[in-house]
Amino acid sequence: MWATNMSTKPEVWQGTLALMVLKTLNAMGPQHGYGIARRIEQTSDNLLSINHGTLYPVLLKLEQEGAIASEWGVSENNRRAKFYRITKAGQKQLASELTQWAQATDIVARFIALKGAKA
């Protein structure tokens, strides 16, 4: 489902993916790419299966925007890995995006409820 949607509506999903990345980093602290991907999959109860590769352009974009920062570290299996952490700007961005997202889902939910009542 993820993969097919990626190809048709990448922006929408990329936007959402960015939100998930920020939320994950905010909740768990510094993580490498693998950790972030895994965590997103786990959070979604594996309903979302990500093509892990699609994560990297999103990480790059967030880093260019200054929402996250990265540095090289050592992973749990003693390998060199790049760790990402959320920045102050990123936390602000996350908060505002969460509000927006909540509003959006709220509105959509209302419409769905409306439809259900009529039917």
């Binding site: 490498h32 352009p57 790059l60 974009k61 260019q64 925007e65 299996n77």
Partner: protein, 870 residues
Amino acid sequence: MIRTLRRTWNRLLGSLRRNVDGDLAEELDSHIRLLAEENIRRGLPPEEAYRRARLQFGSVESTKESYRDQRGLPALDTLAQDLRYAFRGISKNPGFATVAILSLAIGIGANTAIFSLVNAVLLQPLAYKDPQRLFAVREISPLFAALGPVGVNPVHAREWAALCPSIEQATLVRGGPAQVVGGSTPMSVPGARVPHNFFALLGVEPILGRTFVPEEEQEGNDRVAILSETLWRSRFHADPSLVGKLVLIDGEKHEVAGIVSASFRPPYARAAEVFRPLALSLEESTRRTGNYNYAAVIRLRPGFSSEQALAEINVVQARFGKGLKATLMPLHELVTGRAQRGLWMLATSVGAVLLIVCVNLANLLLSRITSRSREAAIRTALGASRGRQFCQVLTESMLLAVSGGALGILFASWTIKLLVAATTLDIPRLAEVRLDAAVLAFAFCLILLTGLLFGALPAWRFTRNQPQDALRAGSHTVTEGRRGLRLRDGLISLEVGLSAALLIVAGLLATSLTRLLQVDKGFDASRVLTVNVGLAGNLYAEPASCERFFDRLLAKVSAIPGVQASGVITALPTQGDTWNDPIYLEGDGRRREERHPVNNRYASPGYFRAMNIVIRQGRAFEESDRGRSVAVLSEKAAKLLWPGQPNPVGRRFMGEDDKPKTLVGIVAEVRAVLDRDPPPTAYYPYWQRPPDGVSLVVRTIGGPLTVASALRAALRSEDAQLPIQAIRTMEEVVDRSVTQRRFQLTLMAIFAASALLVASLGIYGVVSYSVARRRNEIGIRMALGAQRSRLLGLVIRQGMAPVVVGLAAGVAVALLLGRAISGLLFGVQPTDPLTIAGVSVALLVVGALACLIPARRAAGTDAIAALRCE
């Protein structure tokens, strides 16, 4: 918003950063390993674990690609790549790059320097308020028809201002020297007499003090002065309290009323540093005819055209005399007028030089592009778009243009400094010339244009390659197609044509200057020293005291050892057609304005000997003539008074002072302006009307400058307060009057020589390139028995064909444009066959030489080697 900016900035940085691909690869690799290790932990065999991991990750390459696209700015990346290629391409060929950059630097530098001149002198508005409403007026009198428009009668100017509704104000100017005592020594500076409204009319405010008031135009009240900022700074230490104080001018105390800015260039008295009120005598302020001795400037009311104003002025003029008219000229044209045509000629020529440089580079690049046709074909085959390839080749030429241009701007700034330092040059507003923002903007546009001009054609050719043909042709064995050759030949013709036109113009100017310097001036300038002597102040208030001064001075000077002859005259030859007043026969019933004006000069007896002016009849005046009214006329002046009389010596006529004179001799014509026919001239002994300023001329026996210090001492001993001006040789004086021509000629010669050099380089480049490309063909011809001499002929013939075509076109252009420069020529027609023939021969010889070197190389080809080289 901030986020987008930040991202763009980071992407910009990303474009500049190097070698981040490695980091990404490592990051992705570690990700896949982590995935695989988890799979192993789940119990999959390692191979299967890695396969699954790669599946889960998706395409590594497409991740890298979209990562790369986002990392930098793609346009910038492309540009950076093109620039890298361009650098590589240029550094592979340092010889070509040096020639290209240097020729561009010279072309762009020269254009920038000339533009800065054109900009300051012609394009920038005058520092006056609303200059488009300011006009210079001159009167046209039917009696002085031969002289063209003359100056203005002050009464006429007053009436125009009073009666013409379109005229807001009219003002007058009369230039003349002023002797100022500032500090300890007196000095003579250019000055002007102006009415009180002069500064207001031009819209100029003094930087200190005030301008004149109407009352100061009364005789007796006119002892006030306005000084230029330059004089104020150089002589009075920029003392702000000078205003209101008294300074000594021409021996009289004048109150300093104000200081005007150094940038103020008064019309008709460009260099004036002292302004005094114009107080007209009763005679002058009532005299309705003649007295065309003032310059006039008018300001029109807003909304009126110069045609309207002229029509109104001419109505007023008709009241003063039958046929009396006027002419208007925008003030800007007056200030720049004389320099205008010469400057435009220089600007056009220097533009042509740059065009030649461009054409030449285009040609050289075309040759290089043809040899890179395989590269282009391979690129096209690999999928590079035409636009992309076009841009890439263009980047190369832009890089050359920018490098050359930067160097050129450097050249230009040196050249401008040199030009401004050459102060003898009579170019108006020269001091305002500088490398300012406008000039830099011009240079920048020029660089872009140049890069496009010489880069576009080769770049276009580069993309027009048919990949199959180019790949199949194998590039070495086949003689190039006709199309490419024809294009390059056409460019050579263009270069040669432009060079021919420039050479012809330079040749015509050179002939003009030579003819001008060789023209019969009427005097002999060699071994003659001159110095201007101006007398002013109380000491010389009486004409008799001036006379005594010159008597004593001449006696002293003639006693200096090494002096052969000496004399004084009120105005030196070649220094201007001045003091035009009529002479006539007693009982001449005509009105003053109808009589013949001649140049009037007061001189000492020794003057004619000192200048070696030939005496045609009778004698020069002598000391023994003191007390008698005598005069000497030039041949033309005598003919005016006594047409058809072979020997009028001994007859009487009325001099410029309306007193009878006896003609004692007739002398040869002397040029008052070097490039104009000599005017009729009358000479009177100086004691008849002792002048307060003369030029002393001294003919020396040995080298003229050995006498200079003795001359200076003689002047000093006569009057220690006298400002001593520069002592020059007469040759130098004459030479200074042709400075502008010399300047034009020098620049044109430089332009034409560089054009010729560039064109010959171009011919050489194209011919030698085609010989190299045709090595194989030549080898076959030789193997088939072609004679060396025939091969030589073949190459030269083919190389010279475009030269001949270009030469013909260039000569045609020069013939057409000749009329435009005829005003700059002297004693030579723009169609001068000798100049054109000379230029043609020179160009053909240079062209043939440029062909000969590669042709000999072709003829020396070893057939076997040429064929085996494949």
